[in-house]
């Protein structure tokens, strides 16, 4: 199964994703894009990628915001027998350069023009295709994703075509997902696993129309739901529940079938505010970039627990860490038995598995990862970046209602200057929301930096 996907026949893309009735609409942007159009755009993109030097077994780095250009070049890469390296468009040049040097794609696809107003969910992009290297892909994975890492550069996570196909099929066996002929109102980025597999790939496979709202606001989400008569599932992250819970619908919305979110757990009060207002189930999903969807509670019946997805096994380790079945090591160039060993992914989430029902409850992180709007950020990456900046003697980064950094300068330094430097090195969602300069960071009697949010807050006030 998890073979070298680049060695397998790239027709899996046609069979799993692009097949079906040419007249079927697969995307509404808001203009409908049917399968015949998508296939034509993918064929055109294949020609451009080959012209820029993509060969079967080579990689393409996609540095595109969610857009039709992204969808088309992703599918074209796979259909050409290539590996897609997904780079969040919010990453800085510094972060992207480091990834490219390490992963040596043959081709880089980036916008030459991005249109549309602010707060767009789906962008109007003209893509530029450029040669980068002449090396083959380093691994046989179909997709490479970066995850915020604790030791400088990001962790590199690879998934094979067979693994992606298995996840798409897993979705088809989950009760409560959008059904053929229905719509997904798509809010999460398609560059990350929930939007990519749970939205784009599942939608293409199951003949579910994908509808990104015109912009990121409660009104625009409801307008997308109301636009057609077919049942609609809103797919998002917890932030989007708050948006909808604070929006007053202008009329009845019989099409709204369910809202499903991935990411961190939603406080009970927020969940209640949403269900009181809309009267539809609020589903919850648990997944990771490494394996995709792990478990779901799409009817909101088990909150906060989830039931493992079909074909996924979850167990509780002797230390109370959740382990998830994952046949091959998903980390590229990393053999760390504390992250993956013997077919089990060590999630670093504390949790419990009910021996009677098999339901899984997640209790929080064991490590320094936090979730910012559904995006994982490792606080040690932020801290090591800060510590490496000129003018910084030492820094501590903690979670205190947001990423909070305390910095001890070793010379003249302002928060504005630090902001400027950080903006060149870290994507916006990784940057501290609170940034405090302290003459002296608090230390323990043995000289270690204090990491208690309360003590740091006291020192900073």
């Amino acid at each position: 199964m998890a073979e070298n996907a680049l060695g397998t026949d790239p027709e899996w893309v046609d069979e799993l994703l692009l097949g079906g009735d040419p007249g079927d609409v697969c995307l509404r942007l808001p203009d409908p894009v049917d399968r015949a159009t998508l296939r034509r755009l993918v064929a055109d993109a294949r020609t451009r990628l080959a012209g820029a030097g993509l060969r079967r077994g080579g990689a393409v780095a996609l540095r595109l915001p969610p857009s039709l250009a992204y969808v088309v070049h992703l599918l074209a890469t796979w259909r050409s027998g290539g590996q897609a390296i997904l780079l969040d468009h919010r990453l800085t040049d510094h972060e992207v350069d480091r990834a490219l040097e390490r992963l040596t794609p043959q081709v880089v696809v980036a916008p030459v023009r991005t249109g549309g107003g602010g707060l767009r969910i789906f962008h109007d992009v003209t893509a530029g295709v450029q040669a980068y290297s002449d090396r083959p892909a380093g691994t046989g994975h179909a997709v490479i994703q970066l995850s915020s890492g604790s030791t400088g550069p990001s962790k590199v996570i690879g998934r094979t075509g067979a693994d992606l196909a298995a996840e798409v099929l897993r979705y088809t066996h989950i009760d409560g997902v959008a059904l053929p002929g229905e719509r997904i109102i798509l809010l999460p980025s398609m560059v990350h696993v929930l939007g990519l597999v749970g939205g784009l790939l599942y939608g293409l496979h199951a003949r579910v129309e994908l509808v990104p709202p015109q912009r990121l606001s409660g009104d625009a989400i409801l307008a997308a739901v109301a636009e057609r008569d077919t049942p609609a599932t809103v797919l998002g992250v917890p932030f989007h529940i708050g948006l909808l819970a604070s929006t007053t619908p202008t009329g009845p919305l019989p099409q709204l079938k369910r809202m499903t979110t991935g990411g961190e757990l939603v406080p009970a009060a927020v969940a209640r505010a949403f269900t009181d207002r809309y009267g539809v189930p609020l589903g919850n999903m648990y997944g990771m970039t490494e394996v995709g969807v792990i478990g779901t509670d799409l009817y909101g019946r088990h909150r906060p627990a989830i039931a493992p997805a079909p074909g996924i096994e979850v167990r509780e380790s002797s230390t109370g860490e959740l382990w998830v079945s994952c046949p091959t090591n998903p980390y590229v160039g990393l053999a760390d038995p504390t992250r993956w060993a013997d077919g089990w992914l060590h999630t670093r989430d504390a949790g419990a598995v009910d021996p009677d029902t098999g339901l899984v409850t997640i209790k929080g992180r064991f490590d320094s990862q936090v979730s910012v709007g559904g995006m994982k950020v490792d606080l040690t990456e932020v801290e090591s970046t800060l510590t490496g900046l000129p003018g910084v003697a030492s820094a501590v980064v903690v979670w205190d209602d947001g990423i909070t950094a305390y910095v001890q300068p070793d010379g003249p330094l302002t928060t504005d200057a630090l902001d400027e430097l950080l903006a060149q090195r870290l994507a916006g969602y990784k940057r501290p929301r609170n940034l405090r300069l302290l003459d002296q960071l608090p230390r323990t009697t043995t000289g270690k930096l204090v990491r208690s949010a309360t003590a740091l807050r006291a020192a900073g006030s």
Binding site: T114, L216, F239, G242, S246, G402, G428, R433
Partner: protein, 81 residues
């Protein structure tokens, strides 16, 4: 008085407190992209109109005061126009 920029800093701070379910006094002066989307959403609801902010305007917002300035400009322009 739709369109008059009677929007104050305290209003924005209250909105941010609601987003993070934190006391008003703990709201950070700095505004990230998600906080900004939340503020735009609530200001639009309050004035029952769409703020047509450009990417450049949104990118210029780093603090509550920046957000207030951008909202005032947009609401004033809409009222004048």
């Amino acid at each position: 008085m739709a369109g008059r920029p009677d929007l104050g800093r305290a209003d924005l701070v209250t909105m941010l407190a609601e987003l993070n379910a934190t006391p008003v006094e703990q709201v950070s002066e700095r505004v990230g992209s998600m906080e900004l989307a939340w503020l735009v959403h609530l200001v639009e609801q309050r004035y029952d109109r769409r703020l047509d902010l450009t990417d450049e305007q949104l990118a210029s917002v780093r603090t509550v005061d920046d957000a207030l300035a951008v909202f005032h400009a947009s609401l004033t322009a809409a009222a004048d126009g």
